[in-house]
Symmetry: C2
Subunit: 122 residues, 2 copies
DNA sequence: AGACCCAGTTACCCACAGGTAAGTCATACC
DNA sequence: GGTATGACTTACCTGTGGGTAACTGGGTCT
């Protein structure tokens, strides 16, 4: 939260901190696929989500892009990657405990979008 | 919120609706400048925010881009544009009542970003 | 041996968000 | 008349997010 000083001015340092934080978040979760992947994994925790399965079930994402996004999300601890010893080898992706903290955010974003649609139509 | 059916499956229609809503939100508020502009105007309601003032005080935004972003935000009712009869003519931009509904969202995003920084460092 | 499956890479391409620099239009001051 | 200021345009350029297609590498099935 922005801390407000007595005279109603915004604390500049905090403000700058928040700006950077917003940039961080958008960099990590912005783009066409990230949130979608997080929501996908968030809603299928109990399933065995392999690379191919995700590619099939998430819209039209190419292998290249999916691999990229998954690597990035993994590096940021939002998802986990487990190589299973099945034949042929499959890889299981799952949302991490930490990754679940973004889900409320996506709900807020979705809710605002829904409200906005109604708003615009009237 | 995603509605969960008895067997723990996700309601597909609702899910799709939310996906679209998220796309809407990101389209409208994503990008490099939008949230920054909203927060700027949100924290300076009582001030007279002209085009030049904003250009000076918001980072290094070019006239072209600023004009673009402002037009878009205005079209979506998030901000208001008022031509003042001063000399030379100035234009006053302000956040709209509706526009203020995005501020909690930015706080959430900022908060998550801040937490994430701490998280990553440890 | 040949065909198929998974989990990716690699190389190439393109549209577009966003940046730079200069120009326009109206008014006002010196 | 010349210069300045606010609020934009206009023309042009570039980086990169994301798309396509084909390929690698390891394993299995017949």
């Amino acid at each position: 939260m922005a801390t407000i000083k007595e005279k109603g001015q915004i604390n500049e340092a905090t403000c700058e901190q928040e700006r950077l934080a917003i940039n961080d978040t958008l960099e990590l979760l912005g783009g066409k696929w990230r949130l979608r992947i997080m929501r996908y994994l968030g809603s299928r925790e109990q399933e065995h989500n392999t690379f191919k399965k995700m590619q099939r079930e998430i819209g039209n994402i190419s292998a290249k892009v999916l691999a990229n996004e998954l690597a990035d999300l993994e590096q940021n601890m939002l998802i986990t990657r487990t190589v299973m010893d099945s034949r042929p080898v499959t890889v299981r992706y799952a949302i991490s405990t930490y990754g679940k903290t973004v889900l409320p955010l996506t709900e807020n974003i979705a809710q605002w979008g829904l409200d906005h649609r109604k708003m615009i139509r009237s």
